[in-house]
């Protein structure tokens, strides 16, 4: 599927992460999100947010903690497999 709106994917991801982290700080693409405060509740919220945003269902096999460790890793997953 294609991204419907014109906002770059990385920005959408960053917005969702900031929303979950309840933070306005600038997030570097490779920063470890778990060290930045992402916890178990936040990880699952992120998954649900991406699935709703892009109308996708992420495969169980892709639901690994490492996959959601940085903005770049999330972007690669979404771009290469779901969008």
């Amino acid at each position: 599927m294609t991204v419907q709106n014109q906002t770059p994917l990385k920005e959408i991801i960053k917005d969702k992460v900031k929303e979950v982290l309840n933070s306005t700080v600038v997030l570097e693409d490779d920063i470890d999100l778990y060290k930045a405060g992402l916890d178990s509740l936040g990880t699952v919220k992120l998954i649900v947010a991406f699935e709703a945003e892009f109308d996708i269902e992420i495969d169980d096999d892709d639901l690994l903690v490492e996959t959601f460790q940085s903005i770049n890793k999330i972007k690669i997953l979404l771009e290469e497999k779901y969008l």
Binding site: S40, L41, T43, V44, V48, D60, D61, L63, V65
Partner: protein
């Protein structure tokens, strides 16, 4: 539906349509549904017609408890619909895999005596001796801990908040002559005389290990092992010889660096699988979650556990559609060490993991497979018996 009089109690069976819930979520839903109400005496699921049947001991279909049960059932159905359930990943399997209906044959009362006979006791000792050898291979120090988990310890680990459905509290009669006399005058009245001070019967062993190490600096990786009777408040109708309220558990707890903890967990898992196969048992190891009590935050913990491969379970297959978890392999990250303030020499939180063996369940699996005939037992068990 009209209530049926069976023997000395009433039974009403209610049918619930669950077609709105994807099949993938049903097993998860059924695990939670058993805690919906105390009036439940049986629960089964028919995957063909997507219907859950709940048998209750209610006398009247219109009674408050039944109405509450219906409401709670639908509330839980709605909640589970929104939960992100991850299918377990099987990482080892020696059984011929075939798709199983997730119909739970949990109504069969297979509980036997309320005691263990000599053959069972000896078999459990032999099995434990094998588990202890695994622990010693990793230089574990042997411990024996009290049966009671005190309030301070429970407040740290929060087991009672995560799994309130599982635990037994310990009550006592205050040392006060008036209270003691009041109880003796009315020995049926426990509520106004007996008091609960926050102590619990241990649901597992590992929290004692963390308590022993609390606020300590761990200079090198540490392994402890302990065995004891553990207690979980199981629904009467679910009990059988595999699911008991009181059972023996051995745990191996390891505390140290992140990489070492993960490696130790995985290496012990390999050792246990090897023993499992030597014993001729059939089953699998798959990712799992702890049975968190249902609410949205805790469901998240379960999903996260699956995502981080934090928990594996060894499931033994007993019959075509009956399997039981006989060991678990847990990676706790730095969560428990933070709670107990266990640090390394740089004052950073250490990491931990644990492996738990349900000794009674291993014993039952052996007896199901070989009966109590020593001649039929696999070599590894016969060696243990001969050495003991």
């Amino acid at each position: 539906m009209e209530p049926t009089w069976i023997g000395v109690c009433y039974m009403i069976t209610l049918s619930f349509d669950t077609s709105r819930l994807p099949e993938k979520k049903m097993e998860y839903f059924l695990d939670k549904a058993i805690y919906l109400s105390d009036i439940i005496i049986d629960l089964s699921y028919n995957s063909e017609i997507k219907q859950v049947q709940i048998t209750t001991n209610a006398k009247d279909i219109e009674c408050v408890e039944v109405k509450e049960l219906k409401k709670s059932f639908n509330r839980m159905l709605e909640s589970v619909d929104t939960v992100r359930v991850i299918k377990p990943k099987i990482i080892k399997c020696n059984e011929d895999y075939k798709a199983k209906n997730i119909t739970q044959t949990i109504s069969t009362n297979r509980e036997k005596n309320g005691f263990l006979c000599e053959e069972e006791v000896l078999l459990m000792e032999n099995l434990d001796s094998i588990f202890l050898k695994i622990a010693k291979k990793y230089n574990a120090s042997i411990r024996e801990y009290p049966t009671i988990l005190n309030k301070e310890n429970m407040d740290k680990n929060q087991y009672h908040m995560n799994f309130p459905q599982n635990i037994y509290g310990v009550t006592s009669l205050p040392h006060d002559i008036n209270t003691i006399s009041a109880f003796r005058d009315d020995p049926q009245d426990f509520s106004s005389t007996w008091s609960f001070e926050g102590d619990f019967l241990q649901p597992c062993i590992c929290y004692h290990c963390y308590e022993e190490l609390q606020e300590k600096e761990i200079k090198s990786n540490k392994v402890l092992t302990g065995k004891g009777n553990c207690f979980r408040n199981e629904a009467k109708w679910r009990k059988d010889q595999f699911r008991r309220s009181e059972f023996q558990m051995r745990e191996i707890v390891f505390v140290g660096s992140e990489r070492w903890v993960l490696d130790t967990r995985n290496n012990i898992m390999e050792d246990v699988w090897d023993i499992f196969e030597q014993l001729g048992l059939k089953g699998k190891i798959s990712t799992a979650t702890d049975p968190f009590f249902f609410n949205s935050d805790m469901e998240t913990k379960g999903t996260y556990q699956m995502m981080s491969n934090a928990k594996y379970e060894l499931l033994v297959s007993i019959k075509a559609d009956y399997e039981s978890s006989i060991a678990s392999f847990n990676y706790c990250q730095d969560v428990l060490c933070k709670k107990y303030k266990i640090v390394n020499e740089n004052s950073a939180s250490t990491y931990s993991g644990c492996v738990a063996f349900g000794i009674d369940r291993w014993k039952e699996a052996i007896l199901e497979l070989y009966s109590d005939k020593y001649d039929l037992w696999p070599d590894i068990l016969r060696r243990e018996r001969d050495e003991s």
